[in-house]
């Protein structure tokens, strides 16, 4: 990795000096934001409180769902209003809506003797972009969940929607916070909600374990994020974006002048620390292991938190602090390689799984890898675009899977379901799934997923030194198309067949390992577990409505991606108007310039312009993937359980088995980290009991022991004492005499 040379090359790509200085000044001089922006996080918070009250008053209706939907919709409206305000303020403007002081204290009057991390919201176009799809999708998914969770009306329903609302609030804090500490609040807040919602079926040990794993693995990343924030504060004297970006100037200047080696080491370390935090939250190597397990949660949660929004927080963090990342020689290359390897690894695992929700989870990990690569290859627009399109189609894919799971008693095994799309009442689900799969597979031209993926691939091949990443991503694109359509061809088309899952309700809370009878659970009574009587129940209006809207949105996402005003496409202008811009602009400008024969420091794809070449190549690769899936999993398949692919499996030998076992990563972690730590902890406990405390007990025991050993000398005989006394006096006298003479 020729980090330094890459960095120097980037320096050449930097926008003209006045532009950067202007941007910095712009960022520093923020204007007061609209008060309505504060409603975006506060309304979900209100919803959280109301749902909590519903739980307290034991509301047994769908009230919490409607509260949540209404509040989230209002929050979405507030975001739209804020976006319009921002547009009025002009491109690239930054507004700050202060709410109240949080961690705020001083120890002197001089500059720098002041710590300030307030509840204040930083509103720029990146914030608005993120908040738009977060609140928009959250509203839709809440609507979906109102039906999906209906079997749990009561306590569980309240609990679900309370945590759901709290999640949106936390996410809003994460995205809108005007400082890194408030981002950290949101960061851990979404982690908490993720924990609570993964553990929603709390009686299932696997769900509890998954929830715990998610929280702890995230915490590892959080620690690095926290350290990054501290370093940021120590170096820049502030945790507020405005201040930090204003003070990045000198280092940016050095970068532009090519004096890369003069950028302080501290500055280079900050992004490296922030990056690990992003890896944790966005499930990248080596911290991705929690995300597949997180599928233990209810499907709406998987759709919203573990596909569309929370997991993109890492991408947001890097985009938000992009200027810092540009200053490090190593940060972005590492991000790129981690992203590429994660994308490939997750795709290979996804190919070999049978649980459709898990396949989607691995595809999420894989797509997040794409986004990181996008950032690493200076295509923050591409990354953001992929976050945007992925949010819609992946949420839709999850919700479709969820509808299947809901309808077939928790059945998720693609060997036990077939032809679902053609069953009565499942048309909308089938269409939604098809649209989602097309997007994920990157079906050329008509899908938004194709265009956003294309931007990243194009940027990768256009950036010098990053072609290898481009090739990995291209390979992954093929694999993605294959495993996506493997699910589609197996489950949704083909001969009609189903076996219901082992749960009467997909999410009923009796996942106890032991069968203690369900008589105690009143709501479970009346459902006969006999498969013969089982009728899949087709999704109702709410699920169909949401899936329909999302299916349209997944296509409609092309519009903001490809069209816009004077500043280029809308989405690009949103990204460029924010801190994610500095090099993003330069890169795309340079990319355009490259098309005009400038050619400076620009890589090409076998002599063709990378972006244009990718439009064709990635389309072809996606098509091939789909074709293979068709041949292996659809053509000539007569049963649900088997397809032609099974006969090919032996050819891959242990590789296939290993992929099915997720490359044994969980086992390796368990063996290398968890088990040794457990042993060490037990040793510590023993040390504490027998050494540290033993020493104390020894100190208590020693005088008693000495006393016990001297005890025989007290024989109780008068003469013994008398002789002792006389002898003692004699000795004393002797000593006195010896000393005196």
């Amino acid at each position: 990795m020729h980090a330094t040379s890459i960095l120097s090359t980037w320096a050449g790509l930097l926008p003209a000096q006045h532009e950067a200085a202007g941007a910095a000044a712009q960022v520093a001089g923020a204007v007061d934001g609209p008060a309505i922006a504060a409603l975006a996080p506060l309304l979900p918070l209100l919803s959280f409180v109301l749902c909590g009250l519903c739980a307290a008053f034991k509301v047994r209706s769908k009230l919490p769902a409607w509260i949540t939907v209404a509040c989230l919709a209002a929050s979405f409206a507030a975001v739209v209003a804020t976006t319009l305000d921002l547009r009025e303020a002009g491109a690239g403007s930054v507004m700050v809506t202060p709410l109240f002081d949080w961690i705020n204290y001083s120890w002197g009057t001089e500059a720098g003797q002041h710590f300030r991390a307030n509840f204040a919201f930083h509103i720029d176009s990146l914030t608005c972009l993120w908040m738009l799809f977060v609140t928009g999708l959250a509203t839709l998914i809440a609507l979906y969940a109102s039906e999906y969770m209906s079997h749990d009306v009561g306590m569980g329903y309240c609990r679900f929607f309370a945590a759901f609302s709290l999640f949106v609030f936390s996410m809003a804090c994460l995205v809108m916070g005007d400082n890194l500490v408030l981002l950290y609040l949101g960061w851990e807040g979404v982690g908490l909600c993720s924990y609570l919602l993964i553990g929603y079926f709390y009686k299932k040990p696997s769900a509890v374990a998954a929830a715990k794993k998610a929280f702890i693995v995230n915490r590892i990343g959080d620690l690095f994020l926290a350290l990054g924030i501290m370093l940021c504060w120590v170096h820049f004297g502030s945790v507020e974006y405005r201040e930090i970006f204003a003070r990045v100037g000198p280092s940016l200047e050095l970068l532009r002048e090519g004096k890369v080696d003069q950028i302080p080491g501290i500055v280079q370390l900050i992004p490296l620390l922030l990056m690990v935090g992003a890896f944790g939250k966005s499930a990248q190597l080596p911290l991705y292991v929690w995300l597949p397990d997180a599928m233990e949660g209810p499907t709406p949660v998987s759709a919203l938190i573990h596909a569309a929004t929370m997991v993109t927080a890492g991408v947001y963090l890097i985009a938000r602090t992009y200027p810092l990342f540009l200053l490090s020689e190593y940060a972005l290359p590492i991000v790129g390689w981690v992203g590429a390897l994660t994308a490939l690894l997750a795709a290979t695992i996804g190919m070999a799984q049978f649980d459709i929700k898990r396949i989607m989870a691995y595809s999420t990990v894989s797509q997040l890898g794409y986004m990181f690569c996008g950032l690493a290859v200076l295509g923050s627009v591409g990354a953001a675009a992929h976050v945007f399109t992925h949010a819609f189609f992946k949420a839709m894919l999850f919700l479709s899977c969820g509808a299947v799971m809901h309808g077939f008693a928790g059945q998720l095994d693609l060997r036990k379901l077939s032809g679902v799309a053609f069953m009565k009442g499942w048309g909308v689900v089938g269409i939604a799934m098809f649209v989602g799969c097309l997007n994920l597979a990157g079906f050329p031209v008509i899908t938004a997923g194709y265009w956003s993926k294309d931007m990243i691939l194009g940027d990768a091949f256009a950036t010098p030194g990053m072609q290898a990443i481009g090739w990995i991503l291209l390979l992954t694109a093929g694999l993605t198309a294959y495993y996506t359509f493997r699910v589609f061809f197996r489950v949704f088309v083909g001969p009609k067949h189903f076996e219901p899952g082992d749960e009467l309700h997909a999410h009923d809370d009796h996942g106890h390992g032991h069968d203690d009878g369900h008589g105690g659970h009143g709501h479970a009574a009346g459902h006969a577990p006999s498969h013969a009587d089982f009728h899949p129940h087709a999704p109702g209006w709410a699920i169909n409505l949401v899936l329909g809207i999302l299916a349209i949105a997944a296509f409609a996402a092309i519009v903001p991606l490809m069209t816009g005003g004077d500043n280029g496409p809308w989405l690009a202008s949103m990204v460029d108007g924010s801190s994610a811009k500095y090099l993003g602009v330069a890169a795309s400008q340079a990319a355009h310039a490259a098309g005009h024969g400038d050619g400076h420091a620009h890589a090409t794809f076998f002599g063709y312009d990378a972006h244009k070449a990718m439009m064709v190549v990635s389309g072809v690769v996606g098509f091939i993937g789909i074709l293979i899936a068709y041949l292996l999993h659809y053509a000539g398949r007569t049963t649900a359980a088997r397809s032609k692919a099974d006969s090919l499996l032996p050819a891959f030998g242990p590789l296939a088995t290993a992929a099915q076992h997720k490359w044994y990563v969980d086992e390796i972690y368990d063996l290398l980290i968890v088990k040794p730590l457990w042993v060490i902890s037990n040793i510590f406990a023993l040390i504490d009991k027998y050494v540290v405390d033993g020493l104390v007990d020894f100190l208590g025991w020693a005088p008693r022991a000495i006393g016990r050993s001297l005890r025989p000398s007290q024989g109780g005989e008068l003469h013994g004492y008398a002789i002792g006394m006389a002898g003692g006096i004699a000795v004393l006298v002797l000593i006195v005499l010896l000393v005196t003479f």
Binding site: W107, Y195, L196, G199, P250, G265, I266
Partner: protein, 613 residues
């Protein structure tokens, strides 16, 4: 006078309680706690929060004048905050013990009141001897509470608790008395006659040759004039005493034992307030008395803290006793608290004081939660308890809430202080270099760690990023063990101890005859419904009283997590004053080898002469 009443009211009620009939003990104790808390609130209302560093409501009564010992009280904002914590937890403990304490009400509540008085005394004392008396006297009620009302191993635990902490405190006393002696031998300009006149008039005896005083302010000024060797020894003595109380690794082993065996109210007070006496002592005495030595040895103290954080945390992870787990978590948490102090900068001191309060709230509440389960199931073993969310949703909500507060989730109280303590350790390094402006730093900067790296937010100190990074691992470990606890006890399949089972259709589990105290025999008929576990007078889930106990703590956790600003603002005064002491001591250098005063052999008898007069 209002501060004196904080000591007097609980004592008065304790005396009343001793005379009153046992049936009235609980209500009388509650009244006493409420009255003293009301007095505390009154004191808080009269306190000028904008001038946190000023000791308000000061009052001095002559006591043992010839020894220079006075009944002298006063409170700055640090004291006031600790008083507020004490005033909050006191009544809560009485209410929480309503069903837990079934016999010897007068003993229990009487000693609880005495304990309350002693704790107030520690925080308001402006005289060293008064401080020490109160500091030590907290041991006696706690000893009784553990010894009489604890669980199976209570005798051993109480004796160990008493002797261990007492030994430490005596060493601290030696250090404090040395400072007093040093002060008495300092030359002053006042003549002997004027001193005598002052003393006859009942005034404060000014310090001087042979004239003893235990006024904390005066002693602090005197102590800072000690030679660095003396300072180091005094620091050692003080730290031994306070570290045992905190407790820091490796003198922590009394804590898990005492916590496990203590009754719920005892655990709450122990975790909530008594442990803070140690950190308060460090803040009030160790740092202002010997700032130079403290700054010098801060890295060592911080290292002990970090060991405690990781070691205590990992031990938590393998506990099966819930209460022991939370007890060990205190070792880890207080490690963060002292780490903040060891950072010796404003962030750290503020964070540490906040930590004292936050830990009192969240861990106190966790002990309350565990106590509520213990009352119902008579076990604290994670092997016998599980999945209680199914039975006790309200309790589970509180449990998860306080666990999250304890984990340090942002938005709740624990985060603010934990983050500040870590940040303080992070920035407190001399390795950060001295350039103050970004540009200057950027220009002469070399690689990471080289001198001259630009640092706007850095402060002096002997710690640094590695301290924060390694201590930060404690955040992960905290999540590991606390979520393990939640995962076992709150979530998962329902597990109840033998004799408590019987959800759903399992009949024939023999009812509750096995529990002697269950006076519900007559109502045995309804024991086979869903509330079969309703134990004694307690229903399956929390009662309104128990919710009332936990709710104020929960609300405070949120408020302090979201809006710690008023606290931070009022702490700026005392904290910045203390930081100035440390910084000036640091800038003067630690080379004060020559003693600041000369004691000729002829003056050796000076103290006794002073006493003779």
């Amino acid at each position: 006078m209002i501060l004196f009443s904080l000591i007097l009211i609980p004592l008065l009620f304790a005396a009343l309680l001793a005379l009153a009939p046992a049936a009235q003990a609980r209500s009388l104790a509650f009244l006493g706690m409420l009255t003293s808390s009301a007095a505390a609130v009154l004191a808080m209302l009269r306190f000028d929060w904008n001038n946190g560093a000023v000791f308000a409501n000061e009052k001095t009564f002559p006591w043992l004048g010839e020894l220079g010992i006075q009944l002298s009280v006063g409170a700055d904002s640090v004291s006031m905050l600790m008083i507020a914590l004490t005033a909050l937890l006191g009544p809560i403990c009485v209410v929480a013990s309503r069903t837990a304490v079934t016999e010897r009400h007068r003993t229990f509540f009487g000693w609880l009141l005495v304990l309350q008085a002693a704790m107030y005394g520690v925080f308001i004392a402006r005289d060293l001897i008064l401080f020490y008396i109160c500091f030590e006297f907290t041991l006696v009620p706690m000893f009784v509470l553990i010894n009489v009302f604890g669980s199976t191993n209570r005798k051993h635990a109480s004796v160990k608790f008493f002797l261990y902490t007492f030994t430490g405190s005596v060493i601290a006393l030696a250090g404090l008395v040395y400072v007093a002696k040093f002060n008495a031998e300092l030359p002053v300009s006042a003549t002997r006659e004027s001193l005598a006149a002052m003393m006859q008039a009942g005034g404060t005896p000014a310090p001087g040759p042979g004239v003893w005083t235990f006024d904390i302010e005066t002693l602090g000024r005197a102590a800072r004039r000690m030679s660095s060797t003396e300072q180091a020894w005094v620091l050692l003595a003080l730290m031994v005493g306070f570290a045992v109380k905190v407790p820091l690794f490796p003198v922590h082993t009394w804590l898990p034992l005492a916590h496990t065996e203590a009754p719920t109210a005892g655990s709450v007070i122990l975790a909530g307030v008594l442990l803070k006496l140690g950190t308060y002592g460090i803040f009030r005495f160790a740092i202002p008395f010997v700032p130079a030595a403290f700054a010098e040895y801060a890295p060592l103290i911080a290292q002990l803290c970090i060991v405690g954080i990781l070691y205590g945390g990992l031990i938590c992870w393998v506990q099966t006793d819930v209460k022991k787990l939370v007890a060990y978590s205190s070792v880890a948490h207080l490690g963060f608290c002292v780490l903040g102090l060891a950072a010796t900068n404003a962030t750290g001191l503020s964070g540490s004081i906040l930590y004292m309060i936050n830990h009192g709230l969240s861990t106190g509440a966790l002990f309350l939660c565990i106590g509520m389960v213990y009352e119902r199931y008579h076990t604290r073993s994670m092997k016998e308890l599980g999945g209680l969310a199914a039975k006790m949703p309200v309790w589970s909500t509180f449990m998860i809430f306080f666990t999250m507060a304890s984990v340090g989730l942002p938005g709740l109280n624990g985060f603010v202080s934990e983050f500040m303590c870590l940040l303080a350790a992070f920035q407190a390094s001399s390795a950060w270099g001295s350039s103050t402006t970004m540009v200057e730093g950027a220009m002469d900067a070399g690689l990471w760690g080289s001198a001259g790296a630009s640092t706007v937010g850095a402060t002096h100190g002997g710690l640094g990023p590695w301290y924060a990074a390694i201590a930060g691992i404690g955040m992960i470990v905290a999540a590991m063990y606390l979520l393990l606890m939640v995962g076992r006890v709150v979530w998962g399949p329902l597990v109840e101890p033998h004799g408590h089972g019987g959800h759903g259709g399992h009949g024939g589990h023999g009812g509750h005859g096995g529990h002697g105290h269950d006076a519900h025999g007559a109502a045995a008929g309804d024991h086979h419904d869903d509330h079969a576990d309703a134990h004694g007078p307690l229903p399956a889930d929390l009662t309104a009283r128990e919710i009332g106990v936990l709710a104020p703590l929960a609300i405070l956790c949120v408020v302090l997590g979201v809006y710690p600003k008023p606290l931070l603002a009022t702490l700026e005064g005392p904290v910045n004053q203390t930081v100035q002491l440390i910084d000036s001591a640091r800038s003067m250098g630690l080379q004060l080898e020559a003693p600041a005063h000369t004691t000729s052999p002829a003056q050796g008898g000076a103290p006794t002469q002073g006493l003779a007069q």
